[in-house]
């Protein structure tokens, strides 16, 4: 039950290596605006084109980057991200390749937080300790594992935190007050609020409902809240960045990459929308 006296969660790991996420949200707060989080699939449509897009994201206005790790069976994703993963895998993308892309990105950008996002099996296969070490060495700040709920998270949080990486947890509309302490027990970096019950890139959420949900989360944690799923337009991005601390755009961006459109110009338009939306 929600009560005024409910214990507030504070982010656990704040080592120097993991400071990029906190620094970025602090800067956004100082600027008085919400942030733009952009998702791209590593290796989509191929390694070289993907690297160019990744490297161009900060200048186009992305505040935080989610770098997708392709998986053969992406159960929480809609058709757009599914297809992106298939394209990347077909083009030969591997987990090693994704970490190499991140390391190359870090040669030119040391400030933009990068969060690796994907499913558990490739990491399980790589080995969790080895993955945590290699992801940290490549320059990651955090990890989002879609199919790792708090019940199963301990096997990954230990290794990640030991290497200064955050496990970014997901909260959904179905996550009730009783579950929040379990979610927050493992959460670091920021909280990812899944704004709809559904898969990525499908329907869009209502701003008022999202704002209410974010308020409930804020009553429990000091972590910044990024809102995602179904955000397609600069207006929606602005609204969701206003409702939370940042808006996540994935499928709509990936869709433009698939169509060979100017993805970075689209990111610039989203960034413009988010920057003009004052909290």
């Amino acid at each position: 039950m929600e009560t005024a006296t409910a214990p507030r969660h504070r982010s656990a790991a704040t080592t120097p290596e993991t400071g990029r996420i906190q620094a970025r949200f602090a800067a956004l707060k100082a600027e008085g605006r919400g942030g733009l989080v952009t998702y791209v699939m590593a290796g989509d449509p191929d390694r070289e084109a993907s690297q160019a897009i990744l490297n161009g994201l900060p200048a186009a206005g992305a505040d935080i980057i989610e770098l997708g790790m392709p998986f053969s069976d992406p159960m929480a994703d809609g058709p757009t991200i599914q297809a992106a993963g298939q394209r990347a895998l077909k083009a030969g993308q591997t987990l090693r390749g994704t970490l190499e892309m991140l390391a190359r990105f870090r040669e030119t950008d040391t400030d933009t937080p990068v969060v690796l996002m994907g499913y558990y099996n490739p990491i399980h296969s790589w080995g969790v300790d080895r993955f945590a070490a290699d992801a940290a060495a490549a320059g990651a700040d955090g990890v989002i594992i879609v199919d790792l709920p708090p019940e199963e998270a301990p096997e990954l949080t230990g290794p990640l935190n030991a290497h200064g990486l955050h496990l970014i947890m997901l909260a959904a509309p179905t996550t009730d007050a009783a579950r929040m302490p379990a979610v927050l027990a493992h959460a670091g970096g920021f909280l990812y609020y899944v704004s709809i019950t559904g898969i990525t890139g499908t329907r869009s959420a209502d701003e008022t409902q999202v704002a209410e949900a974010v308020a409930r989360l804020r009553a429990r944690t000091d972590l910044p809240v990024a809102v995602g799923f179904g955000i397609r337009t600069p207006e929606q991005a602005a609204a969701m960045a206003r409702a939370g601390d940042a808006a996540v755009v994935g499928s709509a961006l990936v869709d433009r990459i698939a169509k060979g459109e100017d993805a970075l110009a689209y990111v610039a338009a989203l960034a413009e929308g988010v920057r003009t939306a004052r909290a």
Partner: protein, 408 residues
């Protein structure tokens, strides 16, 4: 590890783990639903009225108990162990799948759910699900890979006749694993009214335990029947494994009888040394897919690979987590049988016993044919005849290279 256990029948623990296997690896959006299913199932299991209702339907609708039949001619032909068939092929809808569907549909009704979704490979689970949905007037949506829809056309039509909507899955490899992905995507988008009726002992907890419990009627009946017919317990059990629900149901009541040799049969397709097989325990390694940690067919990079078997019902790159645990503890042996071996067993069973086995079950028969000749005549072997093979006659004709209207 084996020595430390007093029982092989205690699992899973409260978080759904069988040793390192099992668990609940699903998106946060689904977690509250999974917990709700678990809570509802625990309550139902403790309610005698639920069991009484289920028993009534199993008896009068499914046709249980299924016979335990002494396969005299097959036994004489092989010249060794005395072979019994547990006749799940005689159940309504023609396979063991209905046992779990009946249990789960009663649970879904208790939970107030009005829409049922399920995945299917060969179509047997889809047909069984569509059947129980028709029985209770519930909306039914079946996810089926486009590849499977093409090779199992009669079952697709049966589902439609029963009132189900069959959704074609074209993502990924367009087979069973992709159908399961799409069913989970549906569930995450329809959390309020929908119950996901999983067809095997896999998926997030509590499904592996719940489906095993509902399927354990197979082993429980077998135990009583063999005691009545032979006055003692069997010496060996044999069953085929895709996800592993018929095997789990047969094996579980006997796991703590240490003298019984228990053998699970995986589909080896073209052979375990080729890329075309479905033997996740013999040829795979542990990983996480579809809500549980278990043995999986996967690449070095952790991508799930496509399974292959002549039997669509065994054509899955994973296996139930309790089987994975029973393999690692050594309590159950898991062995591979190829398409060719299963085809031979299919024909022998048909000609010697007048029973057309499902191609899935023919894998178990093929293993029995390997084991039986070297065993003494007083060795009692029980084989799970998990389904009937009428659905497979097109596949078999194609494999034999004959026209349906031609002569053999």
């Amino acid at each position: 590890m084996t020595k430390a256990l007093n029982t092989f029948r205690a699992g899973a623990d409260e978080n759904g783990h069988f040793g390192i296997f099992g668990g609940r690896y699903v998106a946060e959006t689904l977690m509250p639903l999974i917990l709700e299913v678990d809570e509802a199932y625990q309550a139902a299991r403790a309610d005698p009225a639920f069991q009484a209702e289920l028993d009534g339907y199993l008896k009068h609708y499914v046709g249980r108990p299924s016979p335990l039949y002494f396969a005299r001619r097959l036994t004489e032909h092989l010249g060794g162990a005395k072979i019994y068939f547990k006749r799940e092929d005689l159940n309504h809808t023609g396979a063991h799948k209905v046992n779990s569907c009946m249990g789960q549909i009663l649970l879904a009704r208790r939970m107030g759910k009005t829409r049922i979704i399920a995945e299917t490979g060969a179509g047997q689970h889809g047909v069984a699900t569509a059947t129980v949905c028709a029985l209770f007037g519930l909306k039914c949506v079946i996810y089926m890979g486009q590849t499977d829809i093409e090779r199992q056309a009669p079952n697709v039509f049966r589902m439609k006749l029963l009132g189900a909507e069959v959704k074609s899955v074209t993502s990924g490899s367009a087979t069973l694993k992709d159908a399961m992905n799409d069913a989970m995507r549906d569930w995450v988008a329809n959390v309020d009214d929908t119950y996901y009726l999983i067809g095997t002992v896999a998926g997030p907890h509590p499904y592996p335990t719940m489906v095993r419990d509902f399927q354990s009627v197979i082993g429980d009946e077998t135990r009583a029947q063999i005691l009545e017919q032979e006055g003692r317990l069997p010496d060996s059990l044999v069953a085929c494994i895709g996800g592993g629900s018929n095997a789990m149901g047969m094996f579980h009541p006997f796991l703590d009888d240490p003298t019984i040799r228990i053998v699970g049969v995986e589909a080896a397709g073209d052979g375990i040394d080729t890329p075309r097989h479905a033997a996740s325990m013999t040829g795979g390694r542990p990983g996480v897919l579809h809500g549980n940690r278990t043995y999986l067919l996967q690449t070095e990079d952790g991508q799930i690979t496509e399974a292959h078997s002549i039997s669509a019902g065994l054509d899955y790159p994973g296996v139930g987590p309790e089987h994975a645990w029973l393999k690692d503890t050594g309590r159950v042996e898991y062995v591979p049988i190829t398409d060719a071996e299963a085809m031979t067993a299919f024909q022998e069973t048909t000609r010697l016993e007048g029973i057309i086995p499902a191609l899935e079950s023919a894998h178990a028969v093929a293993q029995a044919m390997k084991m039986a000749p070297d065993l003494p005549k007083d060795h009692l072997m029980v084989l799970s005849m998990s389904g009937r093979g009428d659905k497979d006659v097109n596949t078999v004709a194609r494999e034999l290279g004959v026209e349906m209207g031609g002569s053999l």
